[in-house]
């Protein structure tokens, strides 16, 4: 697997004595990838911003100063103000909280459910696989954003429901990934070996199949956070996600779009923020894939 190739690539003789393990080897490979490290640093930066928003932010994100409507960026308001005179810098900082929160938790939700279903489908096969796979097909038959809109429309527009909708929509992505991985692993000799020593199915699933299916999930999950952030922004833009006065980036875009010509900063800063976070997760995801996926190696 990935680890094997990694350690042979960089001087196996010296490495043999170093502390080594699948994850350590992957981290070594990841660290050498400058672009991926840039992604990781950006993500750490955004996470810090999100955590420290109340400390850094110069204003209250809800505070309206109607006298200062649509002010361009200045030393007082670094990113300018919006049409209600709220400080955009503050709102963009707080927006990082919402986007990272939605991105992370919707992906965690999809991963948990998708992995569970995927493992069951792949391991037990037959009719179990039939039912689960057809469910995935049905979910995949709809464009994801349309399905998310439908789910939010049923549940009512709110940030929680948007998160839930995004999580549901993405279940099949992880489910199919895990199913495919499990189908491959099932025929590995070490699974037969585990059975031959008398391990129960549950033990084989937890100790051998799950740990060995993790790498593609981690890669897909990182890339998935990027997608989820865009989907959350899209739902926010459509008024189906975060509700005012929550400083959600997508919502900020839609609120300001009528001022795009007169006060472009109202659109540029939230827009650039979305782009940078998504870019960061994509860069890191690609780097993780290179570090973890043996097929990407020479």
């Amino acid at each position: 697997m990935a680890q094997a190739t990694t350690s042979t690539n960089n001087a196996p003789v010296i490495q043999a004595e170093k502390v080594s393990g699948p994850w350590r080897d992957a981290w070594r490979a990841f660290r050498r990838n400058k672009i991926a490290m840039a992604g990781l640093i950006m993500i750490v930066f955004f996470v810090l911003i999100a955590l420290l928003a109340p400390v850094i932010a110069p204003y209250d994100y809800k505070a309206q100063e109607l006298a200062d409507r649509l002010k361009p960026p200045s030393s007082e308001h670094w990113f300018g103000t919006d049409d209600l005179g709220r400080d955009l810098f503050t709102r963009v900082l707080y927006g990082a909280r919402i986007s990272l929160w939605v991105g992370t938790f919707s992906v965690v939700g999809s991963i948990i459910l998708g992995t569970l279903l995927g493992i069951l489908a792949g391991f037990y096969g037959k009719w179990v696989d039939m039912i689960i796979s057809r469910m995935f097909d049905i979910l995949l038959a709809f464009p994801s954003i349309l399905l998310a809109i439908a789910i939010v429309a049923i549940l009512g527009p709110s940030l929680q429901n948007a998160l839930l909708a995004i999580a549901i929509v993405n279940i099949p992505t992880y489910g199919r990934l895990v199913r495919a991985k499990v189908l491959g692993l099932k025929n590995e000799e070490y699974i037969t070996a585990a059975r031959s020593i008398g391990m129960k199915d549950s033990g084989i699933l937890l100790r051998h199949i799950l740990p060995n299916s993790l790498t593609p999930i981690i890669v897909q999950g990182t890339l998935g956070i990027a997608t989820a952030i865009i989907e959350a922004a899209a739902l926010g833009f459509l008024g189906l996600g975060a509700q005012p006065p929550a400083p959600e980036w997508g919502k900020m875009l839609s609120d300001s779009r009528q001022f795009i010509a007169t006060a472009p900063w109202t659109v540029v800063f939230p827009g650039v923020s979305i782009m940078l976070t998504v870019l960061a997760f994509n860069l890191m995801g690609d780097g993780l894939r290179d570090a973890l996926d043996p097929r990407m190696k020479n």
Binding site: M1, A16, E189, Y190, T192, A193, S196, G198
Partner: protein, 333 residues
């Protein structure tokens, strides 16, 4: 003659291919087609044949790692084929397997320590401290050192990995070990080390082996009795010496004549078989070997020869010998 440890009776493994959806009956690949044999306590029983003849399927069906389609496997007085999943799980302690590929048979994410401890935990053997002692003894027995325990499989060579695989099989102190081509993936120099290890362990722990291989010289070295398989059937079973000196079945003769001769001056007569092995999905009627047999007769095309004793402890499935027996009987009468 020691008592039997394992009896295999009319074992069959058929795989359906195609069909099945619209009432069309699926075609069957007969990977293992009605084979019977007995393995005695303490012996090494060889199972040889070319690729795809069903040796591995047989080995795995015996352990029910593959569910046999039909037939009985009786191990140590227990009918393996009739056990419930839970009983089977507990019985696995006594019968283990060593795999052919030392690279895929060890979980890449587990350390050697964990690989060796897992069987002990599964069967609730000892507490943490006792298990540690057992693992240290195991690693010693197979010729590795303590410092290897914290490493991962990819940090070992093929021979070392195979030793880990053997240690894992030994950890539960089994009575029977199915060695599924344990050395064919290794370098020749390493092969002999592993073979010797297997022999030493057999002596030390009183193990019984089913040794699956396609390398006849290796089989000659390690086995006591040998069964030759062709297209899912056993064509000949005999004591090693008898099989190698007086092979009876034309297939065995051809197989043995292909073994490389170390002495360059001796030019053994090679029996070159014509044609290919038929597909097991479409095995010939009658004797499976008749399509390639240099001595095929009329009866071989229509009737499947049964495995029958032709000499003491020598069983052959060939009409040449059924004929002989029949004529022998007429002479007597």
């Amino acid at each position: 003659m020691s008592e039997p440890l394992l009896q295999v009776e009319h074992l069959k493994k058929y795989y359906p291919i195609g069909g099945g959806w619209f009432g069309k009956s699926p075609q069957l690949v007969k990977a293992v087609d009605d084979i019977s044999f007995t393995v005695r306590k303490g012996e090494t029983f060889g199972l040889v044949g070319e690729s795809g003849c069903g040796k591995s399927t047989t080995g795995r069906s015996i352990l029910r790692l593959i569910e046999p389609s039909e037939g009985k496997v009786i191990f140590d007085g227990k009918e393996i084929t009739a056990l419930s999943p839970e009983e089977l799980r507990r019985t696995r302690k006594d019968m283990q397997i060593v795999f052919q590929d030392p690279f895929s048979s060890l979980d890449p994410r587990h350390t050697v320590q964990r690989i060796l401890e897992e069987p002990l935990i599964v069967h609730g053997m000892g507490n943490a401290k006792e298990r540690q002692a057992m693992i240290q003894r195991l690693i010693d027995v197979v010729g590795l050192t303590q410092s290897h325990l914290q490493r991962y499989p990819h940090q070992f060579s093929g021979g070392q990995r195979q030793r880990i695989g053997i240690a894992r099989a030994l950890s539960l102190q089994p009575k029977l070990i199915v060695a599924d081509e344990p050395v064919s993936a290794l370098d020749v120099s390493i092969q002999s080390q592993v073979i010797n290890l297997l022999q030493d362990l057999q002596e030390e722990f009183g193990l019984t082996y089913i040794f699956i291989a396609h390398d006849l010289s290796v089989v000659k070295h390690i086995c006591d009795r040998v069964a030759v398989m062709y297209l899912g059937r056993i064509v000949e079973i005999a004591d090693k010496h008898k099989l190698y000196t007086k092979p009876q079945h034309p297939y065995t003769q051809a197989l043995l004549s292909a073994v490389p001769e170390p002495d360059p001056d001796r030019k053994p007569e090679r029996i070159i078989l014509q044609g290919e092995v038929p597909s097991p999905a479409n095995a010939p009627i009658g004797c499976a070997f008749h399509t390639r047999c240099p001595q095929a007769m009329e009866v071989c095309h229509t009737h499947r020869p049964e495995l029958a004793e032709t000499d003491q402890g020598h069983l052959t499935a060939c009409h040449l010998f059924t004929e002989m027996r029949a004529t022998g009987q007429t002479h007597l009468a």
